[in-house]
């Protein structure tokens, strides 16, 4: 059993935040809180992504020193998840903003942010 490293801790942290977000999504009744739970969910996910790309005792994949420019592969952490997380964040941003605008519009329609009030379509 090796020592638990930062990567496991952050991964676990990511999962916990994700689960918290999910809990909020499923149990909160206020639309804004649900949207916020979604951002929590996304954040957890992003942490997971970054954590997965982490390699023990490696540095950031920015080759700004000459030392890093040789035998790079053994010195840096995985750059790909970091690229992915960027995309993920941007997408999360887009989705969240749209969700908020929806929330705003819903509020305008019924003056309520209680999700159970929006059951016009059913069965």
């Amino acid at each position: 059993m090796e020592k638990i490293g930062i990567e496991q801790i952050s991964l676990a942290f990511g999962f916990i935040i994700l689960m918290l977000g999910l809990w909020g999504i499923l149990s909160r009744k206020n639309i804004i809180k649900i949207v916020l739970s979604f951002t929590l969910f996304d954040t957890g996910l992003n942490i997971i992504i970054v954590a997965i790309g982490y390699l023990k005792n490696k540095t950031a994949p920015i080759l700004d020193s000459a030392e890093l420019q040789t035998d790079t592969a053994s010195k840096i952490v995985d750059p790909l998840p970091q690229a992915l997380v960027l995309t993920s964040i941007v997408i999360g941003l887009g989705v969240t903003s749209l969700l908020l605008v929806y929330a705003l519009k819903l509020y305008k329609e019924k003056k309520s942010l209680f999700i159970n009030d929006y059951k016009d379509l059913k069965w």
Binding site: I49, I52, T87, L98, I115, N116, Y118, D120, K122, W123
Partner: protein
């Protein structure tokens, strides 16, 4: 070929450019968008064309200078070409449909549309998992944007639910993707496919997450409430985009990714798909909101595709053909239906009768419904056929059952809807505004789905063998609908006659008899059509379609041709039946029984094809596995057309409500299709056993009970045409019994009986039809004494009932005589006795028919009624002549039939000496019987005439009426509830038990449907709970625990 990357570049470029145009420039933005969509459609179609003409190999498109897996690559292969073409065309045509709406909203709306299509294109083409995720997000955000084009609380809340669900699902997808990257070190799908991902728990969980997310995008039951709500809440044009373009792309993504999953997991997904298919269709049953109904239907179709793709390891190489053909039908049909819904803008499918304001929309509506249900000549027909053949060919009977049940449910609500549109009363307050940009897409898609059907057929091994000429002839009448009846009728008769003349020699013996019944019978009944005035819109295409199907049955060489013809006949007759007055429910039940029967036939043919390389009809001769099952499936299928007991409830109403010349078509001719089917089934498969019980023995009881029930019901009808309809049921019982005897005499009975029944039922239906034509009522007790006004019709009916009752010397007796010889030979006396009893009951209704209508008291309002139209009488008298001819020379008809049967049943058992027929048991000479009876009759008549020549004709009311004069004809005419004592004695036998049985099934299905739909309580959060529950449950099932 244009590089497919330009699809992306052009759509993005135009989208970005649109930002330059503000309010004033939105027209330019709109036109530019349309142009761009046109361009991308062209690109993908160009590729498709390349692939179809087989000059093109699949092309990889790389981004940046690097090769995958280091960069993202796109693939343009045959499937991609198909799917992108579908998506882009939907973008273009759907954009055209939405043009005004989008323009109202401004250039941003066009951006959303362009980016939706762009995203979907990339989803289809990309080979990179993360890239897939990104562009799926683009598409779903674009959808979320388009949903709110019309902003009301419904669309906003449905869009919000969509966003919530989408957020959760894409989270799953991303999580899975990242972990897949962690385990494989690549994001390239092809790279992943090369690795076995199901060895390690972690990577199989990742695969699980990715696939489950994609499955959730496909809206599986029950985690699909958000999807249904979106279909209902969004503008119909947007729903069309979602259902056609978005779902199409999602299906392809699923196809692309499914190989990553383990086979077991694929089966699990197939199971989810099939559950979705059945459950959604079940829920569709109780929907009345058109968009929501279409939503359920969309979800069900995608569920079916999910199942097919999940089963691809079983289905094998034809998976793609099946998926594409079913998808294409769904694509065109669902888009078209949503569009029509958008034009009509009603909240209830009961209001769809407003479609009748626009013939072209109504026709398109019909086409879409047929395409969706999978009837020929639409693509899904071939797809479903191939699917069932493959699944039943590989012993997957449970899947087959589920698919057929689901399809049946779908047909149920779809045809109910079609019936509403065709028949329900026009709501006065709604009149749809029909704009050109909205109607053109509908017409285009309706035309396309037909074309697609033709091409699908041509791409199918057996589909290309189908003779489409009769169908084309029928459809050609759509183009000349503006001509008067006289010309069209002449053309139709000429067409049938020419076809028969050209081909009758190519038919083998027994087929020739049925060909004569179908085509010559068709000509005879069409003759009556001259009585109609005006254009008679919608009659000729369908009548000819029915005849095309009937003749196709005879010409069929392969199982597919047979099934195609069977379905074609069903379609034609459905429309003939629904033309009748109060035919809405009857046409529906006819269609449902027909479709149910057709599915049984399809399953039977599929099981028969196990282990067979080629699918000619002759496979039925060599069924080795499950032969009894095949036999039963096919027999029950055919018996839906012969309306045997239990499956008969559609017939009375359908035949009774039909028009004067349609009743004989559907009753005298169409029912024989079932007889023909049973005949070739018995010829091919012979006697089969369940355990030790012979199936033909069971069949004989079915026949006997059908005859008893049919005749008994007929005796208690007040409606003349219903009486005849029940009588047809009874008569077909005889035919079924005759066939079940499996002996030379039995078949001779059945075939000669079919011929006789064809003639006499055509005669009677035409005669009664003529009466109803003049009197405008079908209730017999409202008639009476018409012999004075309609002597020619009376004579027809007189001869008709004598033949029907089987009284010597007319030809009806030959059937009875043969029947007894056959019973004696086979020793099935009890069934024989039941049939005899039914035959006696036939007297009851025969007499009632002629008495209540023609004899008794003439009503005051009928004193000036005219004889039936000349053209309705003409075929009657032709038939009469033939009937009397056969009566005089029965051997001339029976001997050739006997000879035709010799190859199959060599034991002749009947010997002819002139017109004298002899069997081991008895003998009979039709000619001398006739001579003797005519002789005695003439002598007696002469004697009476001599004695009574001065008899004085007296007035109607001049009768011996104890002490007082009769009051009115109505009170004096004894006709209502004519056999009251009989009803009192054994009326309990005709309690509508069977009808109640089917009604209860119907109610049960609706009740279950109701329970199911209660899942969807409209709360977005509940839907999220469904999704999470779905994930957890599927995880539990596929991993057997945590």
């Amino acid at each position: 070929m244009v590089n497919p990357i330009y699809i992306v570049a052009v759509l993005l470029g135009v989208a970005f450019t649109s930002g330059f145009f503000s309010k004033k420039g939105k027209n330019i933005a709109g036109y530019l968008s349309m142009l761009a969509l046109g361009f991308v459609s062209f690109v993908s179609l160009q590729w498709l064309h390349g692939f179809l003409s087989e000059q093109q190999a699949a092309a990889q498109i790389f981004t940046t200078a690097f090769k995958p897996p280091f960069s993202i690559n796109l693939l343009m292969g045959k499937e991609e070409a198909v799917f992108t073409s579908l998506i882009n065309i939907m973008g273009l045509i759907g954009g055209l449909y939405l043009f005004r709406k989008l323009k109202e909203t401004g250039s941003n709306a066009f951006i959303a549309l362009l980016l939706l299509i762009m995203g979907l294109n990339v989803i289809v083409m990309t080979r990179d998992l993360f890239n897939l995720f990104v562009f799926m997000e683009i598409s779903s955000i674009a959808i979320a944007g388009l949903i709110i084009l019309s902003q009301n609380v419904k669309s906003i809340s449905s869009g919000f639910k969509y966003m919530l669900a989408g957020g959760l699902i894409s989270g799953m997808l991303l999580l899975g993707t990242v972990f897949l990257y962690y385990f494989t070190g690549t994001l390239n799908i092809d790279g992943m496919l090369q690795q076995n991902l199901n060895l390690v728990k972690g990577s199989s969980v990742a695969v699980f997450l990715v696939i489950t997310a994609i499955v959730l995008e496909l809206k599986p039951f029950p985690a699909n409430g958000w999807g249904v709500d979106v279909y209902e809440g969004a503008d119909a044009g947007i729903s069309a985009l979602i259902s056609s373009a978005y779902a199409t792309a999602s299906v392809y993504v699923f196809m692309k990714l499914i190989p990553v999953a383990s086979e077991q997991f694929q089966f699990l997904i197939a199971a989810i798909g099939i559950i979705t298919f059945v459950a959604s269709n079940l829920m569709g049953l109780r929907q009345s909101n058109p968009n929501r109904l279409l939503g359920y239907s969309s979800i069900s179709q995608i569920g079916l595709l999910m199942a097919i793709i999940g089963l691809s390891s079983v289905i094998g190489e034809s998976t793609n053909f099946i998926v594409i053909s079913i998808l294409v039908s769904h694509y065109f049909a669902k888009a078209g239906l949503f569009w029509i819904s958008g034009i009509i803008k009603t909240n209830s499918i009961r209001d769809w009768s407003v479609l009748r304001h626009s013939k072209i929309l109504l026709v398109s509506f019909g086409i879409f419904i047929f395409a969706l249900v999978g009837l020929p000549p639409f693509p899904s027909f071939f797809g479903k056929w191939e699917l069932i053949m493959n699944l039943s060919g590989s012993h997957n009977f449970i899947w087959v059952t589920a698919i057929l049940v689901g399809s049946f449910l779908e047909a149920a609500y779809m045809f109910r809807w079609l019936g509403y549109a065709i028949k329900l009363e026009l709501p006065s307050e709604i009149k749809p505004v029909i704009k050109l940009n909205k109607i053109i897409p509908v017409i285009l898609f309706a035309a396309s789905v037909i074309t697609a059907g033709y091409f699908t057929g041509m791409n199918h091994e057996y589909g290309k063998l189908i003779n489409y000429i009769p169908l084309a002839f029928a459809l050609a009448f759509v183009l000349i609908e503006f001509l008067p009846v006289f010309i069209k009728n002449t053309l139709a008769i000429a067409g049938l006659a020419l076809y028969f003349y050209l081909n009758y020699q190519s038919y083998t013996d027994i087929s020739r008899i049925f060909a004569a019944i179908f085509l010559l019978g068709g000509i005879l009944t069409l003759l009556a059509g001259y009585a109609y005035k005006g254009k008679r819109l919608g009659f000729f295409p369908f009548a000819l379609m029915m005849f095309a199907g009937l003749i196709g049955l005879i010409e069929a060489k392969s199982t597919l041709e047979f099934f195609y013809a069977w379905e074609l006949m069903t379609i034609g007759s459905y429309f003939l039946i629904i033309r009748g007055k109060k035919s809405i429910t009857h046409a529906l039940s006819y269609m449902l029984f027909s479709i149910g029967g057709a599915y049984l036939i399809m399953a039977g043919l599929g099981i028969a094809s196990i282990g067979k390389a080629d699918l000619t009809l002759s496979i039925l001769h060599q069924v080795t596995e499950y032969a009894p099952l095949v036999f039963i499936l096919l027999a029950v299928g055919f018996m839906t057309k012969t309306a045997s007991i239990g499956l008969h409830i559609w017939l009375p109403g359908a035949h009774a409500e039909a028009e004067a010349d349609v009743s004989p078509m559907v009753s005298a001719i169409l029912l024989k299709a079932g007889v023909f089917g049973l005949l070739i089934l018995l010829m091919a498969m012979g006697e089969q056993f369940i355990g030790k019980v012979s199936i033909p023995y069971l069949l004989s009881w079915v026949g006997a009970l059908t005859a008893l029930m049919g005749n008994m019901m007929a005796a208690f009808q007040e409606d003349a045409k219903k009486l005849l309809a029940y009588s047809s049921i009874g008569a077909l019982g005889y035919a079924v019994f005759g066939l079940s005897l499996m002996s030379h005499l039995g078949w001779l009975t059945a075939i000669s009986f079919s011929i006789t029944h064809f003639m006499l039922k055509a005669l009677l239906f035409l005669a009664i039809g003529g009466v109803v034509w003049r009197l405008k009522t079908k209730d017999m007790y409202k008639m009476g004494g018409l012999i004075k006004r309609m002597p020619f019709s009376f004579f027809s009916v007189l001869i008709g009932i004598i033949v029907l009752a089987g009284v010597p010397p007319l030809t009806g007796f030959s059937g009875k005589w043969l029947f007894y010889q056959a019973v004696m030979e086979k020793q099935w006396f009890l069934q024989g006795a039941v049939l005899f009893f039914s035959g006696i009951i036939a007297f009851l209704y025969c007499f009632r028919l002629i008495h209540a209508i023609f004899l008794g008291q003439l009503k005051d309002e009928h004193r000036n009624v005219k004889e039936a139209p000349f053209w309705i009488l003409v075929p009657q008298y032709i038939l009469l002549a033939v009937l009397l001819g056969f009566s005089f020379l029965p051997g001339s008809m029976l001997k050739p039939i006997g000879n035709m049967l010799l190859p199959f049943l060599p034991d002749g058992a009947i010997h002819w000496n002139g017109q004298l027929a002899t069997t081991v048991y008895g003998y009979w000479n039709g000619k001398t019987v006739m001579i003797i009876i005519v002789g005695i009759f003439s002598v007696v008549f002469g004697w009476l005439w001599f004695m009574n020549r001065k008899a004085r004709k007296i007035k109607q009311f001049n009768i011996v009426y104890a002490a007082e004069r009769p009051f009115r004809p109505e009170t004096t005419h004894f006709a209502y509830n004519f056999f009251a004592p009989y009803k009192k004695a054994i009326g309990f036998l005709v309690a509508p038990g069977i009808t109640n049985f089917w009604n209860r099934i119907d109610e049960g299905a609706h009740a279950v449907s109701d329970k199911f739909t209660k899942l969807y309580n409209g709360n977005g959060q509940t839907y999220l709970i469904h999704i999470v529950a779905f994930i957890v449950v599927i995880y539990l099932i596929s991993f057997g625990g945590f």
